[in-house]
């Protein structure tokens, strides 16, 4: 590794003790000896296995549920439905006042995506649980479903989620998160060229090698120890407390060792129902996603559509940018209203543009609920923005890297969402990239700095 100390040399002390030095990872000795304890490495006598009955339909009304045959199946200890869950309708971000509660722990009257949890079966063995799942009879009335962001926003589209009342998340700013900066129409009128392009992505599964799950042990003091691979320990603790109407002092979460997460393990899905199972049976409970569930049931990165309209001058300046972003939340909010909002702040990109107009929609469809994944809300946006930057450079016959130097944000620039730029390093990163990639740019760009005069 090469440490370049000539950038920002005047504002940085060179007494760097850690940066540039290889340090052993503290968890590696456990990994290479097989001693690291993941949640599933805990095994307790009498442990029950939880398996879910899942919706085979994308959108359906539940007429009736008959669990009698499943309850009689050898090895089955308990069968749970919505009526067993103390506070069955929840939403993860209610902890930071992002409501309404819109998702059921176990489906109650309706399913809104294919794979939604309907009935939980607890049995002595995985096999008995799986066999009993097949014996639960659910009578569905199939409803029309909507799978496309734009179709979902059209009048007359099937209503996905009654807790919202319409197929988009209602922000305090209205049907979308909005950023308004300068006068975008005046910018387009002034521009030498206008380029409008549309970009789309599919959902992306994290596919961690360790599937989502937890092991719960009822303790003698009416507390429950939950060994989990959640990436969001306190979100999980607090949401479980709400769902089970149980004080947090009764819940002891043990975690921090995650066999790959990438954002896919921040939802609160397996823990509340497993703890409820342990409470109602008095036995340890293991709820571990199969590989199929991990791929089909766990939240993916949202599908997104990004429409970018730019006004650009022949000299390389972008004078207006209008972005409409759509995030496919699937049937429930989870973390998507936050992701779509993050996109609104991010969409101008790391560029200083005087006239900006952003609308980002969080849209509900009958698809698998999406949620967090590495830079969600901005990663697909960055793909769209940087492809757009290349197209704009080509349009005006300019080198794509030089085009980015001209528009790069620098310290003191006001961003469209009214946060002044501080500590920018885009210019310097591009200068280094130019050297390393042997992609030369004009000397005046190599002499630029992220510092503005007087800033």
């Amino acid at each position: 590794m090469e440490l370049r100390k000539d950038y920002f040399a005047d504002v940085r002390k060179d007494g760097l003790n850690e940066i540039g030095q290889p340090r052993p990872r503290l968890d590696s000795p456990g990994h290479v000896t097989g001693k690291t304890a993941y949640f599933a490495d805990r095994n307790f006598p009498g442990m029950l296995h939880l398996k879910m009955v899942r919706s085979p339909h994308h959108h359906a009304r539940i007429r009736s549920i008959d669990t009698s045959e499943a309850e009689k199946h050898p090895g089955v200890v308990r069968v749970l439905t919505a009526k067993n869950v103390p506070h069955n309708v929840y939403t993860i971000l209610i902890l930071i006042q992002v409501g309404p509660e819109d998702e059921t722990v176990l489906a109650d009257g309706k399913v809104r995506w294919k794979g939604e949890a309907v009935v939980a079966v607890l049995a002595e063995t995985q096999r008995a649980a799986q066999e009993a799942v097949a014996k639960v009879k659910v009578d569905y009335e199939v409803l029309p479903a909507v799978f496309d962001i734009e179709q979902a926003l059209k009048p007359g589209a099937p209503l996905v989620n009654e807790y919202h009342g319409q197929n988009y998340y209602l922000y305090d700013s209205g049907e979308c998160r909005k950023v308004r900066f300068g006068d975008v129409e005046a910018g387009f009128a002034e521009a030498d060229h206008i380029l409008e392009q549309s970009y789309q992505s599919s959902p992306i599964e994290h596919a961690p090698t360790e599937t989502t799950g937890c092991v719960v042990v009822p303790e003698g003091n009416e507390r429950f120890t939950c060994y989990t691979n959640t990436q969001a320990m306190f979100f999980t603790l607090d949401n479980t407390s709400i769902i089970l109407q149980m004080p947090g002092s009764k819940l002891h979460f043990v975690g921090g060792t995650v066999g790959g997460g990438f954002g896919g393990k921040v939802d609160v899905i397996v823990e509340p129902i497993a703890i409820l199972g342990a409470k109602l049976t008095g036995r340890p409970v293991s709820f571990v996603y199969s590989r199929e569930e991990e791929m089909q049931i766990s939240s993916p990165r949202a599908a997104e559509k990004v429409v970018i309209k730019d006004g650009v001058m022949r000299d390389g300046r972008i004078v207006a940018r209008k972005v409409t972003g759509y995030t496919d939340a699937g049937a429930y909010s989870r973390h998507s209203p936050y992701g779509a909002q993050k996109g609104a702040a991010h969409y101008p990109g790391p560029y200083t543009i005087p006239n900006v107009w952003i609308d980002t929609y969080c849209v509900y469809t009958n698809r698998t609920p999406s949620s967090a994944m590495r830079g969600f809300g901005v990663t697909i946006g960055d793909f769209a923005l940087e492809v757009q930057m290349d197209k704009l450079a080509r349009l005006i016959g300019m080198d794509p890297l030089e085009f980015r130097f001209i528009n790069a944000y620098r310290d003191g620039d006001m961003k469209a969402h009214r946060q002044p730029t501080e500590g920018a390093a885009l210019i310097e990163c591009m200068q280094e990239a130019s050297r390393v990639a042997n992609w030369p740019v004009a000397e005046k760009y190599m002499a630029m700095s992220s510092y503005r005069k007087g800033a």
Partner: protein, 160 residues
């Protein structure tokens, strides 16, 4: 369900258990014997996290029935370090940052060990081929490949 006796050697120790017929070696090792170093990532033979060595051959313990392992010599990553001294592969995985979440690591080390036991000085292509049945979602594989090549060099220097 009928229980069957099974007896084998695990990392040099004799083990004897009564297991339910149809139990996988992975579940027998983890739930019965208490060696949790083989991991269950897919239970369908596609991820390699459960890899163990049976009579010198690399095997997927999630697709191996425990009752077929009578008399076998089974090795897992938990038994690789001798007297507290890390095996060169373990040392190299540590030094090369070849672990992140660590879930694939025991299986990777098993696959690498079978390779080095047979081919002490493998080419990069041979390393890639030997690890091709093991999925890692964190590292991008390159540090793992480098760790195996480094371990091969370290082992051949010690042997010289």
């Amino acid at each position: 369900m009928a229980k069957v006796p099974v007896q084998f050697t695990l990392n040099g120790s004799e083990k004897a258990e009564f297991i339910e017929s149809g139990t996988t070696l992975l579940n027998a090792l983890r739930d019965k014997i208490g060696d949790t170093s083989p991991k269950g990532g897919c239970h369908q033979g596609t991820c390699g996290a459960c890899s163990v060595i049976i009579d010198g051959e690399l095997k997927l313990s999630c697709l191996t029935l425990a009752e077929t392992c009578g008399g076998a010599d089974i090795k897992t990553t938990a038994g690789l370090a001798e007297g507290g001294v890390l095996h060169p592969l373990q040392r190299a995985f540590l030094d090369a940052f070849a672990t992140q979440c660590g879930f694939c690591t025991p299986g990777m080390i098993m696959a690498a060990k079978v390779l080095l036991d047979r081919t002490p000085n493998p080419s990069r292509e041979e390393v890639v081929e030997a690890l091709s049945g093991n999925i890692c979602r964190c590292t991008g594989y390159e540090p793992i490949i480098q760790a195996v090549l480094t371990a091969a060099r370290a082992s051949s220097q010690n042997a010289a």
